[in-house]
């Protein structure tokens, strides 16, 4: 009975997840290309792609950019601001909670392309750009944030987009924290920060690490939001590994190399994921 119940999902996973992944790993060992005369007869090249990638400044640079992007936008920005928003929404004295919650949820609801185009308009280097209009009100000269501070710009955009999920997850986790424990800590003279540090946070440790795991995986995979804004530039300033893979596999047609880069990224994510799971002792 059990095989019968599991069969369809196992089949679907095998066809749509495992088979492409295995094929991707195989491609990573070949010099498969989509264009050019070399595309006619792809060869098995062993670990050449991996060797090229791990000695390529461009690829290593893209890993560095990805680490920076994930750390500052997801791990620091989204988590801290999401937690702050969740804690704020628990306050009984806060008025207009619906409006506040909706404002934070809105960036998550908006499609990726719309979000990118909106920010492209906000950060436009032209005088008509929203950002430049704002600083113009205070007498400032026009700026080009996507050229002058590209990494900071995409980090801010990603924080803006990701706070909602953090807030929802932390709100749900905070619901499970018994009010009596907080009251008792307060009676003992603990301030808000100490209550959070020694009572609330240990109790929601599991969900926090689960969120960190999820946001790390999804942020490493962020592509459209950044690609539409900067296409990885200027230069390679915002060339995340996802953009590197897209450019090499599809724009430059080096599917073999792109597949190998994807496998390296997958391996790094697995290591990160296992670390989170171990730290949180969350059962996944």
């Amino acid at each position: 009975m059990l095989p019968l119940l599991l069969g369809p999902s196992v089949l679907l996973i095998a066809v749509f997840v495992i088979a492409p992944a295995v094929y991707g790993i195989y491609l990573g060992f070949t010099n498969t290309q989509l264009t050019g005369f070399a595309a006619r007869d792809p060869d098995f090249v062993g670990l050449d792609n991996y060797q090229n990638l791990l000695t390529s400044d461009e690829f290593l640079g893209s890993l560095g950019h990805t680490a920076q992007f994930v750390f500052f936008s997801a791990i620091i920005g989204q988590t801290i601001l999401g937690m702050a928003a969740a804690l704020l929404l628990r306050k009984k004295w806060l008025r207009g909670k619906g409006l506040f919650g909706a404002a934070i949820l809105l960036p998550m609801v908006v499609p990726e392309v719309v979000a990118s185009l909106t920010w492209a308009s906000v950060l436009s280097p032209r005088d008509e750009g929203t950002f430049n209009r704002l600083i113009g009100l205070f007498g400032g000269a026009s700026a080009a944030p996507l050229q002058e501070a590209p990494m900071l710009s995409i980090i801010i955009v990603n924080i803006w987009r990701g706070i909602a999920l953090a807030m929802i997850m932390f709100q749900a986790a905070l619901e499970d924290v018994p009010d009596e424990l907080i009251e008792a800590a307060r009676v003992d003279g603990a301030g808000a920060m100490r209550v959070f540090r020694y009572v609330t946070l240990p109790l929601i440790r599991g969900p926090v690490f689960l969120y960190l795991l999820l946001t790390t995986i999804t942020t490493v995979g962020v592509f459209g939001l950044v690609y539409f804004l900067t296409q990885g530039g200027p230069g390679s300033a915002t060339q995340l590994t996802s953009i590197y893979i897209y450019q090499h596999a599809f724009q430059y047609s080096q599917i073999g190399l792109g597949s190998a880069a994807s496998v390296i990224l997958l391996a790094l994510l697995l290591v990160l994921g296992l670390t989170y799971v171990r730290l949180s002792k969350v059962e996944v």
Binding site: F37, A144, P234, F250, Q251
Partner: protein, 447 residues
């Protein structure tokens, strides 16, 4: 019980009808109507071709051929087109005929996505008359033809004659880049703004290669691509001089670096500042006369023929002379997997001849690839295009070969590092050589 009998009866009937339909399809397949899908990824091209299709269908009907054409219009940038059509070719879903820039053909032909057209072309009398510069550009490294060029262009430096004359700047043909830079510095000193746009950096995509870098490096004596050996030479005096030129123009504030680093860099430069007259010189192909600045172009310039003129490229290396360069043009490629190759080739030949070609060339602003169109209206009344055609016979053909998209990628990165002020000419040349060698692999690089 009754329902049980009805079901097999309906199934049997459906099968019988299906079999009959299948038989009837196969009977019609050989002599019935043929539908050819034609892809255009530029709106202006789609607009003109759309009007020509009914005439082609009628012409074929007169010859007793029932060929229908389905136009697929998918407006995309060059890079978007290349990425998308590559996936379509690879997955076997590409249209029968694809109209594309000549620089795309090499990669697709190499991969076997395009039909070899040698036999068809040899039997077509017009092919013999094609200008040698056009034929040479269309010939692939294996010596075969995989596309039919239906237009040609000459890459030149377009300048605002009215603006420069008003400023008292010499508008005669500059003999060397030093001479031209001297003039550009005067313009920039007076306006405080950049004075020339040459595609550079990653945001301009393939244009940085075909409209920016290649026309300059091709004018030097250095061999860049050796067709016989099928290999690229990645370090040479010509390459160094070209990167030095970009660095000099950037350092002197003559190039609009900020605009070049933004997405769609052609919009503020070619579509805004050049028409305004605030950026008076632009590296540009023949299509600038119509597609960019013509009355129905992207950014019309009123009386464009009076206000704008062209220079040949000045010499970059010692002993050189000014030259014009064949910038190539669009080609029709036929999908190697098309079920109707004869009909597809019939379509591309028809579109590349006589009135149909004249109308397309005039709408886009391209020179004719063969002499048979110069007396056909409306092309006949386009002096700027006829002038470009006249230059074709003496123009230099830029060398291109297998791996050109990867060399293009390395050029984009290296010129971007100059724009960003992160590299001088020598550093950019060195980074280019290393980057391109990695991307091309040993087999395509000369030792």
């Amino acid at each position: 019980m009754q329902r049980n009998r009805v079901f097999p009866a309906v199934t049997a009937a459906a099968l019988a009808v299906g079999m009959l339909a299948a038989c009837s399809d196969s009977d019609d397949g050989t002599s019935g109507p043929v539908t050819i899908k034609l892809l255009e990824y530029q709106q202006a091209r789609a607009d003109v071709v759309e009007k020509l299709i009914p005439r082609f269908e009628s012409a074929m009907a007169e010859q007793g051929k029932d060929i229908q054409v389905e136009l697929v219009t998918d407006p995309l940038t060059d890079d978007q087109f290349r990425t998308k059509i590559t996936q379509q070719f690879h997955s076997g879903t590409a249209p029968d005929v694809v109209d594309m820039g000549g620089s795309h053909v090499t990669g697709f032909a190499g991969a076997g996505y395009l039909l070899q057209l040698d036999e068809y072309l040899n039997e077509w009398p017009t092919w013999e008359k094609y200008y040698s510069a056009v034929k040479q550009k269309a010939e692939q490294v294996d010596g075969h033809y995989y596309s039919l060029p239906h237009e040609a262009s000459v890459q030149s430096l377009f300048y605002r004659k009215d603006v420069l004359e008003e400023m008292g700047i010499d508008t005669s043909q500059p003999q060397t880049w030093d001479e031209l830079i001297g003039r550009l510095k005067k313009v920039t000193a007076e306006t405080g703004k950049p004075s020339i746009v040459i595609p550079a950096g990653t945001a301009w995509g393939a244009g940085t290669w075909s409209e920016g870098f290649l026309p300059i490096v091709a004018g030097t004596d250095s061999t860049f691509y050796d067709r016989e050996a099928g290999k690229w030479t990645l370090e040479s005096d010509g390459l160094s001089a070209t990167f030095d030129l970009y660095a000099e123009l950037t350092k002197a504030g003559l190039l609009p670096t900020q605009a070049l680093l933004n997405p769609n860099p052609w919009e503020p430069t070619k579509y805004k500042q050049f028409p305004e007259g605030t950026l008076p010189v632009a590296a540009q192909g023949t299509w600038g006369w119509r597609y960019d600045w013509g009355p129905n172009g992207a950014a019309p310039i009123k009386n464009v023929k009076d206000k704008v003129a062209t220079w040949n490229y000045p010499a970059l290396t010692p002993g050189g002379e000014p030259y014009s360069i064949s910038g190539g043009g669009y080609n029709y490629g036929v999908n190697a997997e098309t079920e109707n190759p004869d009909a597809a080739v019939e379509l591309v030949k028809w579109l590349s001849s006589d009135k149909a070609a004249a109308e397309q060339l005039t709408a886009i602003g391209a020179a004719a690839p063969h002499p048979g169109i110069s007396d056909v209206e409306p092309y006949k009344s386009q002096p700027t295009l006829l002038d470009a055609e006249a230059k074709l016979e003496d123009s230099i053909v830029a060398p291109e070969g297998d791996g050109n998209t990867r060399v293009s990628q390395a050029v984009q990165s290296a010129t971007e590092s100059i724009l960003l002020g992160k590299a001088d000419g020598a550093e950019a040349a060195s980074a280019f050589a290393q980057d391109a060698a990695e991307l091309l692999g040993e087999n395509l690089v000369a030792k």
